[in-house]
């Protein structure tokens, strides 16, 4: 296991305040979800999951068709669709448009896709100001941090951290009352909304039959981002497609409940094109950037392509006992938790962070709560074997492979097994190779081998009395 961030992981494990913050936040989100999918409130929860899975499967397997249908309908409503292969192209497009329109200030609502491509940094390099407007994201932008969680980006920060970040960056008094901190952010961001030239959002869904972008949120910042500036740009991964507006009945029912336990989030915006004839407000220009950025690599594997079904509810993070220990920043990419552990290796190649698919006890809690039924443990297992294969091709990891080879040989030779077993040897080939026994024993008492194995007990029992 090379490149494993054990030092920062241990820092997180040893930080009692942080552990408490992660635990209480994820506990609360879990409790809210459990309350919202209860059988008496949502009796057809399991059928909805199956339906969501089938709809995503269908869409992903016919993605080219739905992309073109979506594009056709966006154009029909007066919008434009821009396909981008990578982050550079997104930056080029936005910069080019900003230049043509003389735009300087961009307001943004929460979007994991733009986090993925370091959108803000790229634009800032060219003198544009891009401001995050979701409260959590705004705090993180001021603190130069990346999101800790897909849904609750600043869950690792306390009111005292926020007070420090605000007073340092906004020149306000040290304010530790959360309501007042929220008001400070509201006032600062209201100014930005009213002067912004461009609003950039992500998308929760792209609706093919309507050419519409669906954005869900609680604060109202996405509504402001899409209503106040004259230009609205959506940046979304190509996997966000769903076939029909009517399919939102399934997806919206699952998304809010899985994420925060809300039957519907406060605001659900269904946006199709720029303002129409006679409308007093709304954007004059409407663009949808459809981003590949490696997604077509995931698409090529018939089994692993289900990773693209993800609707970014964050439930797998909340329910993951590993995420709940190591938090969001120990994962190598913006997508953390179980979903991060399966998509990061597919985007970046399995050898970039080979430890990642192994950082799971395979408890399966993630798959149990996934609203679109992604088989996360199964994909982790597949990725583990891809890691060992890739390492073999690279000529590394040979010691562990050899150890398992010997182990398998022992396990298929019962006499050797029985002989070695008595000296504790059956686990010996494995232990020192997959990790130092000392480290394992640092956490627990090592069990002792029994004096008599079951094999021996049975053999003794069989001797006629």
């Amino acid at each position: 296991m090379t490149g494993q961030p054990s030092e920062t992981i241990n820092q997180t494990l040893g930080d009692a305040r942080l552990q408490l913050a992660i635990y209480s936040a994820t506990n609360r989100l879990m409790t809210h979800r459990a309350g919202a999918v209860r059988a008496d409130l949502l009796p057809d929860y399991q059928e909805l999951r199956t339906e969501a899975n089938q709809l995503k499967k269908h869409t992903i397997e016919h993605l080219d068709h739905y992309l073109e249908l979506f594009e056709k309908n966006v154009i029909a409503h007066g919008g434009k669709v821009v396909y981008c292969s990578d982050s550079q192209e997104v930056a080029d497009f936005v910069l080019g448009l900003a230049k043509e329109r003389g735009a300087h200030l961009i307001v943004k609502s929460k979007s994991m896709t733009t986090e993925e491509i370091h959108f803000n940094e790229r634009l800032e390099k060219h003198g544009l100001e891009a401001v995050e407007t979701d409260l959590g994201e705004y705090i993180l932008q001021l603190a130069h941090q990346r999101p800790y969680h897909i849904v609750a980006p600043a869950l690792h920060l306390t009111r005292y951290d926020v007070a420090e970040i605000f007073s340092k960056n906004l020149g306000v008094e040290n304010e530790v009352v959360i309501e007042k901190q929220t008001k400070i952010a509201r006032a600062a961001l209201r100014e930005k909304f009213l002067h912004a030239d461009i609003g950039v959002t992500g998308a929760n869904f792209l609706v093919a039959d309507s050419g519409a972008v669906v954005v869900v949120e609680n604060e109202g910042n996405a509504r402001l981002t899409t209503s106040a500036p004259k230009i609205h740009i959506t940046v979304a991964g190509i996997e966000k497609l769903i076939p029909r507006a009517q399919d939102l009945g399934v997806f919206l029912t699952l998304l809010g409940r899985s994420a925060t336990g809300q039957p519907l989030t406060v605001y659900t915006s269904f946006l199709s094109g720029p303002r129409r004839n006679g409308e007093i407000d709304g954007p004059d220009e409407f663009y949808v950037v459809l981003l590949d950025n490696g997604r077509t690599k995931l698409l090529a594997d018939p089994e692993k392509r289900q990773s693209l079904y993800c609707i970014r509810c964050g439930a797998c993070l909340n329910h993951c006992p590993v995420y709940r220990k190591i938090g969001g920043h120990n994962y190598p990419w913006v997508y953390s938790g179980p979903i991060g552990a399966i998509i990061t290796p597919q985007f970046h190649g399995v050898l970039k962070d080979p430890w990642l698919p192994f950082a799971s006890s395979l408890c399966g809690a993630c798959a149990e709560v996934c609203p679109v039924k992604i088989e996360i443990p199964k994909l982790l297992l597949k990725l583990r074997s891809e890691v060992t294969d890739a390492q073999r091709r690279q000529g590394v990891g040979g010691v562990e492979r050899l150890a398992f080879g010997i182990w398998a040989w022992v396990m298929t030779h019962p006499r050797i097994y029985l002989m070695l077993a008595r000296i504790g040897g059956i686990f010996l080939p494995l232990l020192p190779k997959v990790g130092p026994l000392g480290k394992w024993a640092s956490q627990r008492e090592v069990p002792k081998l029994a004096k008599t194995s079951f094999h021996q007990w049975w053999k003794a029992r069989e001797v006629p009395k």
Binding site: D44, T158, I178, G211, G220, T296
Partner: protein, 220 residues
């Protein structure tokens, strides 16, 4: 290689679609397999109960609802709510029919973007109608139109929606059955379920972060 100079001309349409088709092993123009009919579940409820149900759910979210029998009963309620406040009302005919636009605190009849925005920035209250309301979730459904701009329900710290009982639907699925393709009707459909809120700092719920922190529904 795309260069910044090409700017807004960037479009890797053929590349991306080509990669998608290659990954899926599909030829251009292939139609998908047929999809099963959308799953919409509309409960059979006594329509008379929708208003009560809506009220309960709306108030659970932190809103306050009023139910009146006649349009003329609306203005007194609004006068009460608007005491000492300045309001902007949309151009929805139903608001005029309820006598709201005639109230002294209420500005209405905007047709210019900048004027509307300036009024909304300083107003204490935004008054709109609602195209639909969903009983099961206490949701207001707003379709933007020349009569019903977006900012009135968004910029002022208080939002009041006044609408006839006939707009009440059971749930999201019924809305999607009534409006199978909302894009044909409007450039923007917004579902509002409770006051603007956040829990981004220590998971503590705070209302009114960017949108209105107080919402009222008056059902006629």
């Amino acid at each position: 290689m795309v260069e910044s100079a090409r700017g807004a001309q960037v479009n890797s349409r053929e590349v991306v679609l080509g990669n998608v088709r290659k990954a899926l092993d599909r030829a251009a123009g292939l139609l998908p397999t047929t999809l099963t009919a959308p799953r919409l579940k509309i409960p059979i409820l006594d329509r008379g109960r929708y208003t009560t149900l809506f009220g309960q759910n709306f108030e659970k979210l932190g809103g306050k609802s009023f139910f009146v029998r006649e349009p003329r009963e609306v203005a007194p309620i609004l006068s009460e709510l608007l005491q000492g406040k300045r309001a902007v009302a949309s151009n929805a005919p139903f608001l005029a029919a309820c006598g709201i636009t005639g109230l002294p605190q209420v500005q209405s009849g905007f047709t210019d973007r900048e004027a509307l925005r300036a009024a909304c920035v300083t107003a204490d209250v935004g008054i709109t109608s609602a195209d639909y309301a969903l009983a099961e979730t206490g949701t207001l459904v707003m379709l933007s139109s020349p009569e019903e701009p977006r900012l009135i329900s968004l910029l002022p710290p208080v939002h009041i929606a006044v609408f006839p009982q006939s707009r009440m639907l059971a749930n999201l699925d019924e809305l999607l059955a009534v409006l199978p393709n909302p894009a044909e009707q409007t450039s923007s459909m917004v579902l509002i379920t409770g006051p603007s809120r956040t829990a981004d700092i220590e998971q503590i719920l705070v209302r009114g972060v960017h949108g209105p922190g107080e919402i009222y529904a008056v059902i006629v």
